[in-house]
C-alpha cells in the first residue's frame, strides 16, 4: 500500500490494483497472492465500523487473500464519489443517499445492510420530552436542513402536522439542545445522545424506526461494474465483514477496546465507544439476521424501504438491492 501516499495513486481501481500488486513485491507488506481493495467508510474511525476492524485484526480477509484498506470519511468526504471513481470497491452509504445518487446517474446497488433499523432519533430532555411522534407538535427542533425530507416523511407516516414544528437549522451538535435554543434534535441514536449521557446530561430518545421510518442504513454499496467484474472480491469482503460483526456482537467490550487501540490518534474514549456500541448493536441484529445472517434483507424489508423512500421523494424499485453476493458470502 506504499504507493497510495503518492499523488495520483488513486486514479482508477485498476490502477490502484496495479500499485497494490507492486506493493506485494515487498514481502513484509503482504503475501504475494493478496489482492488489495478499499472500503470507504462513511465517517471517522469509531466503533461504528468495529466489525471491519475485527475482520482486519483477526485476518478474516487475509484468510481469503484479500487486503482491505479502511478509508475514513469525514464531514466533507461523501462516500459516493470514491466508489463511482473506483478508488474504493465498496462504500458504506444509506438507502436514501444511494437512491439520490442513482437518480443522478450513479450505477449503485445495495449489496448488504448493516443497520436493519435506521439510527435516526429524536433526542430531547426529560423535562420536555418527545416520547411519541405527536409530541413533536409545538416543539422547536434543531437539525441540519439537509435532513428536512427525513422529518417531513416521518410526519407524513405518523400524521403529525409539520407546520406545527419549528425547524431551527443547527450544526450537528447537541449544544443547542443543552443550551435551550431548541427542544429536541434530529440526530443518530448512537452519537449525540451518547455524548450527552457521557457529559452527565440525562436525555430521552425516540428512535424513528420504531415509528414506521424504514430506511436501511450503513448499507454496503458497489457499482454494477464491480459486481460484474470483481465479484469474488466483493463476496470475500462481505464474508469478512459478517465474521467481524458476529465477533463484535459476541464480545462488544473487546471490539471497543480494539477500536481504541487500533486508532490511537483518533482521540477515542473507551467508555464512550462502549456505550455507542451498546446502542448500535440492537439496530444491526434482529430475528431476521439471526435466521439468515449479518446484513440480510428480504422482499418485505425492501418493500417497506421503497415506501419510505417514496415519501423522501426518491422513486426506486427493488432492483436497487442485490442480495446475490451476500447469499454467496453466507453460503460459502
Amino acid at each position: 500500500m506504499t504507493d497510495r501516499h503518492k499523488p495520483w495513486a488513486g486514479l482508477s481501481r485498476r490502477h490502484f490494483l496495479a500499485t497494490g500488486a507492486a506493493a506485494t513485491l515487498a514481502p513484509h507488506l503482504a503475501r504475494a497472492q493478496d489482492r488489495a481493495v478499499a472500503l470507504q467508510l462513511s465517517w471517522l474511525h469509531s466503533v461504528q465500523f468495529a466489525g471491519s476492524y475485527i475482520a482486519r485484526d483477526r485476518g478474516y480477509w487475509a484468510d481469503q487473500g484479500l487486503r482491505v484498506a479502511l478509508n475514513p470519511g469525514g464531514p466533507n468526504a461523501p462516500v459516493e464519489p470514491p466508489v463511482v471513481a473506483g478508488n474504493a470497491l465498496v462504500g458504506i452509504s444509506a438507502a436514501d443517499y444511494t437512491a439520490a445518487a442513482v437518480a443522478q446517474g450513479a450505477p449503485f446497488r445495495i449489496i448488504a445492510v448493516a443497520m436493519q433499523k435506521n439510527p435516526f432519533t429524536i433526542a430531547s430532555l426529560p423535562a420536555n420530552p418527545v416520547n411519541a411522534p405527536q409530541d413533536l407538535e409545538g416543539k422547536r427542533i434543531g437539525m441540519a436542513l439537509a435532513n428536512m425530507p427525513v422529518l417531513s416523511a416521518f410526519c407524513t407516516i405518523n400524521n403529525v402536522d409539520l407546520d406545527r414544528i419549528e425547524v431551527v437549522p443547527t450544526q450537528y451538535d447537541a449544544a443547542p439542545l443543552v443550551a435551550g435554543q431548541v427542544d429536541c434534535l434530529l440526530c443518530w441514536a448512537t452519537d449525540l445522545p451518547v455524548a450527552m449521557t457521557v457529559q452527565g446530561i440525562e436525555n430521552t430518545t425516540m428512535i424513528m424506526a420504531d415509528h414506521g421510518y424504514a430506511v436501511h442504513s450503513q448499507t454496503y454499496i458497489a457499482t454494477d461494474d464491480s459486481i460484474a467484474n470483481w465479484r469474488a472480491d466483493l463476496v470475500a469482503l462481505l464474508r469478512g465483514e459478517a465474521r467481524g460483526w458476529n465477533d463484535c456482537r459476541a464480545d462488544p467490550e473487546a471490539a471497543a477496546r480494539l477500536t481504541v487501540d487500533m486508532f490511537p490518534d483518533a482521540g477515542l474514549d473507551l467508555a464512550t465507544q462502549q456505550m455507542q456500541l451498546d446502542r448500535q448493536l440492537p439496530l444491526m441484529f434482529s430475528d431476521l439476521t439471526d435466521d439468515h445472517g449479518f446484513g440480510w434483507f428480504t422482499d418485505d424489508t425492501v418493500a417497506a424501504n421503497i415506501d419510505t423512500l417514496a415519501l423522501l421523494g426518491r422513486d426506486v424499485g427493488p432492483d436497487l438491492w442485490d442480495r446475490t453476493l451476500l447469499e454467496e458470502a453466507h453460503g460459502g
Binding site: 488513486g10 466533507n76 443522478q104 436542513l145 457521557v198 482521540g267
Partner: protein
C-alpha cells in the same frame, strides 16, 4: 549606567508590564465568559483548556505534528505559486488581467466541491490537506506581492532602462528588494491561513490531525477538547505570525523610498479591449475546467463539465426550476455578504490606523486578532450564534471576523510604507499624529488597502457560505452543502459558477474604484510599462 539607558529600560519594563497586564485581563475575561456560559456547552475557559492540554499532551502533540506538516508543505507550495504568479504578472503586464482573474476563480472554489475531488485524485494520505492549505494561502500572498513589486520609483526603472537593461534586471535589482516588506506581510497572513486550511483539509477523510480531533470533540459535546484544540491552533498561529515579524526586524528591511510616479495617460484602454479581455478570461477558464477534468479522467457523476452546467441551467428539462432554486438561495446570500465585507474592511483598516496612532495597542490587538482569525470557524460559529443569534447580525459578524485580519495586516504594512523623509518633514513642522496619519500615512497605505479589499472579495464569499453551512442553514452555502446527501453535483457546479462570476464582478468593481483613487495617490501602481 547613563540616564538614557535607564529610561530605555524603564520603558521596556513598562511595555512588558502592559503586555502582561493585557494578557491577564484577556484570560480573566475569557474565564468569566466561560463560567457565565457553563451550562450551554459552547465555551471552555483557560483553566479547563490548560487542564485538557496537560492531560492529553501526547495525543495533541501527535495531532499537531500531523497538521503542521500538512500546513508547512501547503505554505511552501502555495507561496511558491504566489511568487511565480506575481513575477509573471510584473514581467508580462499584458497577462495580468488573465492571471489575476484565474487566480481569483481558483481561490473561490468551495471546499465542498474541491474536497471530494482532491480525495479521489490523491487517495489516502495528506495530499488534500496540503493542497487545501496551499489554496488557502497563495492568493493572499500573490496580491500584496504584485503591489510590492510595483512600489518602486519610476526614476529607478528609467535609470535601468537608460543602461539598456531589461525587465529582468529591473526585477532583480529594484522590484524584488522593494517588494520584500509586502512579501513578508503576505507570508504573515499566510501562516495562520495555512494551519486553518490544513485543518479543514482533514475534513475530507484524514486519519489524524487537529481537524479530526475538532470534529470528534464537537460531536462528543467535549467543549474542553474543542477549545483546547482551538487554543493550540491559535497559539501556533500567533507564534508563526510573530516569527515572521521577528524575521523582518532581524533583516532590518530598508525604509521605503519616496515614490514619485507621473501620471500616464497613454495607456487608456478602449472599452472594446476590456470586453475582449473578459472574453479571453472566460474562454481560458472554461477550457481549463474541461481539460483538467478530462486529463485526470474524473468521473462525470461528481466532476461536472461546463456542458453539464449549461444543460442544467439553460437547455435541459427543468432548467427554469433549477435556476429558480439557485437564484433564491443566491439572493439570501448576497444580503449578508455586503455588510459583512464592508464591516470587515472598516474594522481592519480602522484598527491598523489605531495601532499606528497608539503603538501600545499593537501588543494586545495584534495577537488577539491573529488568535481570532486562527480559531477554526467551526468552533467559533456556535459561540457567535449563541451570542448574536442565527439572523443577520450573527452571519455578518462571522464574515467580518473572517476578513478583517488580512485587511489589518496588509493595512499596517501599508501604513509603515510612509517614506521616512516625509515623516521627517511633518515632524519638522511639529504636526500632530492625526495630521500625519491623514495626509501622509493613509495615502501611503492606499495600495495595500485596495489590495486587501480585492483579496477580501473571495474571502467574504467563502465566509458567508461557511456561516450558512454551519449556522443559518440558508443561502447558497447551505445549497452547496446539501449536495453531500443528495449527490446533486449539477447544482453544486452551477452554484460554483455563479459564485465565481459574482466574485469576479465584485473584484472588477473594487479594481475600478481602486484605479480611480490610485491614479491620484499612487500612480506607480497604475502605470504599466
Amino acid at each position: 549606567m547613563t540616564a538614557g539607558v535607564l529610561r530605555h529600560r524603564q520603558a521596556a519594563w513598562g511595555q512588558g508590564g502592559a503586555r502582561a497586564l493585557a494578557i491577564v485581563a484577556v484570560l480573566a475575561l475569557w474565564e468569566l465568559a466561560a463560567r457565565a456560559n457553563a451550562d450551554s456547552f459552547v465555551l471552555a475557559g483557560p483553566v479547563e483548556v490548560a487542564r485538557y492540554l496537560w492531560q492529553n499532551a501526547p495525543l495533541l502533540t501527535r495531532a499537531l505534528g500531523a497538521t503542521l506538516q500538512s500546513a508547512a508543505w501547503g505554505f511552501v507550495w502555495g507561496n511558491l505559486a504566489a511568487i511565480l504568479l506575481a513575477v509573471a504578472v510584473v514581467l508580462i503586464p499584458r497577462a495580468e488581467r488573465v492571471v489575476a482573474a484565474l487566480a481569483l476563480i481558483v481561490f473561490c472554489l468551495p471546499l465542498v466541491a474541491t474536497g471530494p475531488i482532491l480525495r479521489v485524485l490523491f487517495g489516502q494520505g495528506n495530499g488534500p490537506q496540503i493542497t487545501l492549505a496551499a489554496l488557502a494561502v497563495y492568493y493572499t500572498t500573490f496580491l500584496p506581492l504584485v503591489v510590492g513589486l510595483r512600489a518602486v520609483p519610476q526614476s529607478w526603472l528609467d535609470l535601468i532602462r537608460s543602461h539598456g537593461r531589461g525587465r529582468m534586471t529591473q526585477l532583480i535589482h529594484v522590484r524584488a528588494p522593494a517588494s520584500f516588506p509586502y512579501l513578508i506581510a503576505g507570508l504573515q497572513i499566510a501562516a495562520p491561513a495555512a494551519i486553518l486550511g490544513a485543518m479543514v483539509g482533514e475534513f475530507t477523510g484524514a486519519e489524524r490531525g487537529l481537524g479530526v480531533l475538532t470534529i470528534r470533540a464537537m460531536r462528543a459535546l467535549d467543549v474542553d477538547a474543542t477549545w483546547a484544540i482551538a487554543t493550540l491552533a491559535a497559539g501556533v498561529s500567533i507564534l508563526a505570525y510573530g516569527g515572521f515579524g521577528a524575521l523582518v526586524r532581524r533583516l532590518r528591511v530598508e525604509s521605503p523610498a519616496v515614490l514619485l510616479t507621473p501620471p500616464d495617460h497613454r495607456h487608456r484602454r478602449p472599452p472594446w479591449r476590456r470586453l475582449a479581455d473578459i472574453g479571453v478570461i472566460v474562454a481560458i477558464a472554461l477550457v481549463l475546467w474541461q481539460a483538467t477534468m478530462d486529463l485526470f479522467d474524473l468521473n462525470p457523476f461528481f466532476a461536472k463539465r461546463p456542458g453539464d452546467v449549461v444543460a442544467f441551467l439553460l437547455t435541459g428539462p427543468d432548467a427554469a426550476a433549477h435556476r429558480a432554486t439557485l437564484f433564491a438561495a443566491y439572493g439570501e446570500t448576497l444580503v449578508f455578504t455586503l455588510p459583512g465585507y464592508l464591516a470587515g474592511l472598516a474594522l481592519g483598516a480602522g484598527l491598523a490606523c489605531g495601532v499606528v496612532l497608539m503603538p501600545g495597542l499593537a501588543t494586545t490587538a495584534l495577537p488577539l486578532s491573529v488568535a481570532l482569525r486562527s480559531v477554526p470557524i467551526v468552533a467559533t460559529a456556535p459561540l457567535i450564534v449563541l451570542a448574536l443569534g442565527r439572523g443577520a447580525v450573527g452571519t455578518i459578524t462571522i464574515v467580518t471576523v473572517m476578513i478583517f485580519f488580512p485587511t489589518l495586516v496588509a493595512c499596517l504594512q501599508g501604513l509603515r510604507q510612509t517614506p521616512g523623509q516625509i515623516i521627517d518633514i511633518f515632524d519638522t513642522y511639529a504636526s500632530g499624529r492625526w495630521r500625519l496619519l491623514r495626509l501622509a500615512r493613509v495615502p501611503a497605505m492606499l495600495p495595500a488597502f485596495f489590495a486587501s479589499a480585492r483579496m477580501a472579495v473571495p474571502a467574504a464569499i467563502l465566509a458567508v457560505t461557511t456561516a450558512e453551512w454551519l449556522a443559518t442553514g440558508n443561502g447558497i452555502g447551505s445549497l452547496m452543502a446539501l449536495t453531500a446527501s443528495t449527490s446533486d453535483y449539477n447544482m453544486l457546479w452551477s452554484a460554483i459558477v455563479l459564485v465565481a462570476l459574482t466574485a469576479a464582478l465584485a473584484y472588477g468593481a473594487v479594481a475600478w474604484i481602486e484605479a480611480q483613487v490610485l491614479a491620484v495617490y499612487a500612480m506607480e501602481q497604475t502605470v504599466r510599462r
